[in-house]
Symmetry: C2
Subunit: 309 residues, 2 copies
C-alpha cells in the first residue's frame, strides 16, 4: 500500500494498467467499479467498509461481498477513495482489508475528495461534497492540500442534506412556538416523517430510530416545496448553496488557485437552486470556473492513474 | 397528584402549609429543599430523577436517596418542578415516584420554568434558563402559556453553555482550516479538553466519552478569555445574550405581557457580559423589566404555594 503522495509509477507503466478496480468507500456505502482496458465492466455497491464508521469485521465482510460481485484475483491496480482518511495509518488499515482480495495488485488509498476532483476532470482545484454531510477539499500543483468544513454533523456540515433537514425542523418548531399554522414546508416534513404535530419532531429528532441519513433524506421536503415556489424553502436552498460556496472559497484562497471548483454529492449534483446559489456565492469571490459533477466520483480513478503513469 | 392547572386550595388552607418539600428535577440533578414554617431546614442534591433522562429505576433510587437526606414522612405538600414535563402523563409518572416517600402529602408537579419565574418573585412573566441548555417559558394572568426554544441540543439551545462550548470548537477548527496559529480561546479550549491539536477536537466532540454537559462546561474557556479581553470570546457571549433575548421576546410577544423577564441558569446567573447583552437585546424590543435570578429556582416553591393558597 502506498498513499497517493508516495506512489511512484512502476517500470513499464506506459499508461493506465489493463485491469483496475476503483473503490469509493463512504460512511454508509462502498461502491466498486471494475475497469478493463479503461472501460467499466462491473459496478456494484455494498455497505460501508470504512473502519472509522463500522467495525473491522463488518468492513471486511462488506469488502468480501463486493469483491465476490465485481471479481478480485488478477488485478493490476486498486485505487480506493475513502472518507476520513487523514493519516497514513488510516490508509494502511483500509489497504490491509483490500489486499487479500487482489493478490499482487498495487493498492492505493486516497482521500475520497480526491476522487471527486478527478471525476470532474481536474488534477488541481477544490472539490465540494454536498450530500448527507458537506466538506471542501483541494490541492494545488505544488501538492499542497487544504480543507474546509467536514467536521461532522454536530459541528458543521453547512449546506448538507442533514443541515437542510434540520433547518426544516427548526422552521417548523419556530412557527409552532409562534402559534402559527403549519405552512407548506411543515406539512411536507410532517408527512415525510409520518407524524401529525410539529411538537413530535423534537422527540423524533433525538430518537435512536433516526440518524443523520434519515434527516438528510428529509431535505426532499425542502427541495420539493422550493420547486412549488415556497419562499422559505427557496431561501434555505439559497443559504445552503452560499454556505457551500464559502467553504470552497476558503480552500481556494488557501491554495492560491484560480479554480476549478467542482460540486458533487447527491444534493450538489441534483438540486438546481442550490447550484445557482453556489455559483453566485463563488462569483462574489471572483471564482468563475465552477463545474457540477456529471459522473460519480468512483469514475475518477482512471484520471488519477493516468496522472500518475 | 394534580398538575398546576387543576390544583385547588384545600379547605382550611390559609397560607403556606407548615411542612413543604420543594424539588427541582433536572436532567442531571435533583435538588430538594425541606421548608418548615417557611424556612429552609434541609437542602440536598442527588442525581436526576427525571424519567425522561434516566430509567425509572434510577429515578426511584435517586429520589429515595434524596428523601433519606431531607426527610420524608410527615409532609403537607410537595411541589416538584421538572424539565420536559409537557403532558399530564409526564407529571403523573413523576408524582408516582414521589408519593411513596410522603404518605398523605399533596404532590404537585409543574414545569421547571415555573419554579424559575416564582424564584424571581413573579407570578406572570417569562423565565429564561441559560445553563447546559436554554429555553424560555412564560405565562400571563389569563393562564395562557408560551414557550420558545428548549428543543434540545441538536435543534437549538441558542445561548446555552453547550452552544458556547460548541462555538469555541468551531472557532478553533475554522482557524485551523485557515492555517492560523491557535489564539487565546483555542489555547484555553485545548487545555480544558486535555488535547494538543485542534484537529483532535473533531473526534473528541463526537466521542461517547463527552456529552452535552462536558461541552457546556467548556463554555468556561469562553468566559475566562472574554474576561481577559479576547474579542472573539466577547462576541460569543454577546451573541449568546442576544439569542436568549430573542427567545424571551418571542414568548413575551405571544403572551401580550410588558414583562418581567427573569434570567436564570448557571450562565444566566453568573456571566455578566451575557447578562448585559441580554438586557440590551430585550431593550431593543422595548422590554425593560429584566431581572437576573439571585436564588436557585427551587426556592420559588413557597411563592407558588402562596399564590395557590
Amino acid at each position: 500500500m502506498e498513499t497517493a503522495e508516495n506512489t511512484t509509477p512502476r517500470p513499464g507503466d506506459a499508461s493506465v494498467p489493463s485491469t483496475v478496480i476503483g473503490l469509493d468507500i463512504g460512511g454508509t456505502k462502498t461502491r466498486g467499479v471494475r475497469f478493463e482496458d479503461g472501460r467499466p465492466v462491473r459496478d456494484e455497491s455494498t455497505g460501508s467498509s470504512n473502519v472509522q464508521n463500522v467495525t473491522r469485521e463488518v468492513a471486511a465482510e462488506n469488502l468480501a461481498r463486493l469483491f465476490a460481485m465485481i471479481g478480485g484475483g488478477q488485478v493490476d491496480r486498486v485505487l480506493a477513495g475513502a472518507g476520513g482518511i487523514d493519516t497514513d495509518a488510516d490508509a494502511r488499515a483500509l489497504a490491509d482489508l483490500i489486499e487479500p482480495h487482489v493478490p499482487g495488485a498495487e493498492v492505493t488509498v486516497v482521500h475520497d475528495s480526491r476522487l471527486l476532483l478527478a471525476a470532474g476532470g481536474a488534477s488541481t482545484g477544490v472539490a465540494v461534497i454536498a450530500g448527507t454531510g458537506s466538506a471542501a477539499w483541494g490541492k494545488n500543483a505544488d501538492g499542497e492540500e487544504a480543507r474546509a468544513g467536514g467536521w461532522g454533523f454536530l459541528l458543521g456540515d453547512e449546506g448538507s442534506g442533514y443541515w437542510l433537514g434540520r433547518e426544516a425542523v427548526r422552521h417548523s418548531l419556530r412557527r409552532m412556538n409562534k402559534g402559527l399554522e403549519p405552512d407548506g414546508l411543515t406539512a411536507a416534513l410532517l408527512e415525510s416523517c409520518g407524524v401529525d404535530d410539529p411538537n413530535k419532531l423534537i422527540a423524533l429528532f433525538h430518537s435512536e430510530d433516526t440518524d443523520r441519513r434519515y434527516w438528510a433524506q428529509r431535505a426532499n421536503a425542502v427541495v420539493e416545496t422550493a420547486r412549488e415556489g415556497l419562499e422559505i424553502s427557496r431561501q434555505l436552498l439559497d443559504q445552503a448553496g452560499r454556505d457551500l460556496a464559502e467553504l470552497a472559497a476558503q480552500a481556494v484562497r488557501q491554495l492560491g488557485l484560480p479554480g476549478p471548483v467542482i460540486l458533487g454529492g447527491g444534493l450538489g449534483m441534483n438540486v438546481e437552486p442550490l447550484q445557482s446559489a453556489f455559483r453566485a456565492g463563488l462569483a462574489a469571490h471572483g471564482i468563475t470556473d465552477v463545474r457540477v459533477l456529471d459522473q460519480e466520483p468512483v469514475f475518477g480513478v482512471l484520471q488519477i492513474l493516468a496522472e500518475q503513469a
